[in-house]
Symmetry: D2
Subunit: 309 residues, 4 copies
């Protein structure tokens, strides 16, 4: 693939997106997200050749929200390995991201690491007796490392808002604690969780951060190994089956790529062996996934023949 | 890939499987399946080069059971196109294959075409006012065509047993009928359903039958088009997210291929662009998926580097 | 209590009911019920003194529907005694009358004998290997006996309509059969069930039929024993906790009497030691209980000081 | 009823209970309850004549736990009247006392005031912007008043243990807060909740405290009105349908009286117009209700003919 071809495709997609009047609705549970400008759209692709091709608002930082769960999962697996799977499952939940129903039926073990409960358990595994600040530092260092960008920061206003309104997450964390599936003080673990969800990244930064999943665990096909190829494949598998909550099947059906969405409107999508993609538009569908970022990725996947299927 | 390399890999896998003492348990709800010999194992791979490489009991017919749902889905989409999705969803259910709970909460619309309720709705779309015999004929013709094998037949003893014990399926069908999501008499639709689940195929036949999903809708990379490439991709996506019931995430995690299992112990797995695979061993895990066919596919995918992720 | 006092109270209630413009909505799943005249209202009280005081349309037969479940429960307990409780529970379900969800979670054992699933299991216990006609004959004989009225009959048009549209009940019965909690052919048991729900009775007849529950198991305080006093008390307890589906708590809260409703708009209410009451008005609330019969019983209970609490 | 007769019945019951080897299991989530002596049993009856007849360990204080919910409900209804029912329902839940499932399906509104979630909402209505200490003071004053006993106190060790292990209640409270059904800080409301559950009372004190429910809202049939007769009836109705969690139907079936249990092993039961009863034995059944206090109440109700049915 040539850069020119990819640039042309991205431009065409951006034009199509710009022309759309159906733009979804922003997340409205915190003011920082509710105030989003629905006209925004950005996309960036990090290729196997080391190119970074982008279009639209690709340098604007946005709240990555649940996309951070991909990085915390990677980090937790690096720290405790497969023992993590005793605390969280690997199956699609069939329920909304913040559902507590299965936690009751399945005695405090979340279905997968990408629904809120699962991601809180993963964060708890990272905290592991340390101070929240240290755990958060480790997460931020990892993301900066894989993105090769020290400028990535946490939006503390967003983190504060998350905490103020995070009663369902408080409920999930306490519920897991009741079943012994949370080892640190609830406030510690949730503090870290709210902050890593509040990390702000641009499409460029996010596309770069996802490279290790696209290139067999390396930052580039020939680069140094960050995680094993098998672990990269497995995280991709989880992204495909669980990365869009109860819209995961639909994303696989339409886009055909492993992906992880966040309510900030971002989506990280992986083309194994070929590219890491970040798309962003703040309007969401009813499942909480970006309406137009999904549309953009569907077109990109089709145009480039990138579906894994 | 050379045939010799693939033959060697399959033989090694067959040796590993033969040495295993953990063999799962056969389905026990009908005598024909309960009587299965747990020592049996077969595997067959239809490659893009047109080769058919196989090992073990690859010529023994077994009851394909839910694997037939891949073919009925293909047929129904061919008949009524995307209108089918008004009657059945595209999301993992997070529940066992024969669960009725979501049908109540979601007013009679099954989550996906591979759980029992969804497959019954798909069968109903195929019946579409015709006599059961005609509908069943169409299904059998389609499978024989894609497998290029006129010898494929229905095991009528199995079909009769299915019907005798099919009370949960009777419940599912009547429940959908109550919500207007079944158009034909329950007996008609279930009659066809029980019979297409009772089709018997060998690994060889099944691997050949899956080629159109591996080769962009064609029976071979250069062969005639059976379905569009996009439809093939989409069916593969559904197989990956929903093909193993509440073990779908696990199969994606371990094997990394679209696959569809049946309680007869068979699994059809697709390597897009490269191969169609059928593996069979009658012992099941607690989700109703073949314990050793899964293990064999995991090893094959790893050895050949075939994971889509 | 004097008859004159009771007559005056019933007349006042009837006047209040006649003046109401909020009248609920009739059951609409079969034409015979959907066509109901919402202006109809009747009430009848059988007293401990042997009087039958009534007002309004107290001689008009209506479809007793689920009220029949009180009589089938009595009959089944008479036939197999406490063994019945192995097949059906004694707890409020917290779910709608036709819900199938708990059946899945609780492996085919309905929560109580008054939700549809439970009543089907009770009917199955009555069929017990006999022909449907015989079982139905036994039910009808029992009701005619306790009502002291040979004129009570089944509305076969209603029964036929029930059967035609009874897909959810078909689902419930097949589901229980799948768990071994239905012993007779589904068609036999449901045939009897649909027919006993289609029994037509007037308020007068129904009030008389309920006397054995009001008078310690006797048709009058000094009359012959039909069932033991303890059994009568227990059936009353079940009516109070489960007799109005997921509106049972509300009925207990407002009326304070054991009662059983039917979607034909009838309610049988018991004042232990004092009276058996039947009220009828075909408009229903959102739980499927008669809107105005409930209002009438609330006023009657308050005026007469009849609440058991 | 003569005191002598009642004394004889209570003594016989106490003898029967003493002879039982099946004694249930104590609550084990906090050390204070887990350490309970299973041989303990007490019972006390406050009669309409003003007598207090008791037997066994009737002067030993025990943790009233959920029985306190009857008093907080009374208090909250006194403060805000029927507006309370906008925040909590009046239906049996069909689920365990600490279930969170229905809260999700029913958007944060608990089914009834006696399951944990409902009782927390009721406590929140009492807090109503005041300091926890004031709210708790009001609750304690009310209980001391209706029990006519200033010696009743809170066991602060129990309260502290409840708080330390109260993660499920933390989850419930936060979950309701997420839906706007908790108005005070979670810590405030739960602080009051944990403390009123930790009130210690003897059977004598508890039987006296329940008199206003037995005597139409008065502390004795001729005494001053504490609450209206209608409100007393309604609270009794709620106790009957919801007072024993998912064992409420069973208690109504066997005992036939409105009752409220606590995991400390106590049960308050009301015989409208006749008596208020407190029974206590710390061993519980699988629903969390006292195994032997239930048995004692069943025998007492039968012997005295006190069933409301």
């Amino acid at each position: 693939m040539t850069v020119a071809r990819l640039e042309a495709v991205l431009q065409k997609i951006a034009d199509h997106i710009a022309a759309r009047s159906d733009r979804g609705r922003p997340a409205d549970y915190i003011p920082q997200l509710a105030a989003a400008d629905l006209s925004r759209f950005g996309i960036a692709v990090a290729t196997a050749d080391g190119d970074l091709v982008a279009c639209g608002d690709h340098e604007s930082p946005f709240s990555i929200q649940s996309i951070s769960k991909v990085f915390t999962l990677t980090l937790a697996l690096g720290q405790i390995g497969d023992a993590l799977w005793q605390r969280v499952g690997r199956e699609p939940s069939g329920n909304p991201f913040n559902s507590i129903v299965q936690l009751e039926y399945e005695r405090g073990r979340p279905r997968n690491p990408f629904i809120n409960a699962g991601a809180i358990a993963v964060t708890d595994a990272i905290v592991a007796g340390h101070q929240p600040k240290e755990a958060l530092g480790a997460i931020l260092r990892f993301i900066r490392f894989v993105a090769d960008d020290e400028a990535i920061t946490i939006d503390h206003d967003v983190a504060a808002s998350e905490k103020e309104t995070g009663f369902r997450n408080m409920a999930l964390a306490n519920y897991m604690r009741a079943f012994g599936n949370l080892e640190n003080p609830v406030d510690f673990t949730l503090g870290v969780y709210f902050h890593h969800c509040a990390i702000a990244m641009s499409c460029r930064q996010l596309a770069k951060a996802g490279r290790y999943l696209a290139f067999g665990g390396r930052l580039s096909p020939e680069g140094p190994q960050v995680i094993s190829p098998e672990r990269a494949r497995r995280i991709n598998a989880l992204m495909l089956t669980c990365g869009h909550y109860d819209g995961s099947g639909e994303f696989a059906f339409r886009v055909g790529l492993p992906g992880k969405s966040g309510v900030g409107g971002g989506i990280l999508a992986i083309v194994p062996g070929k590219a890491s993609i970040a798309a962003w538009s703040p309007g969401l569908d009813h499942n909480g996934n970006s309406w137009l970022a999904t549309a953009a990725l569907e077109e990109l996947s089709r145009e480039m023949g990138w579906s894994v299927f």
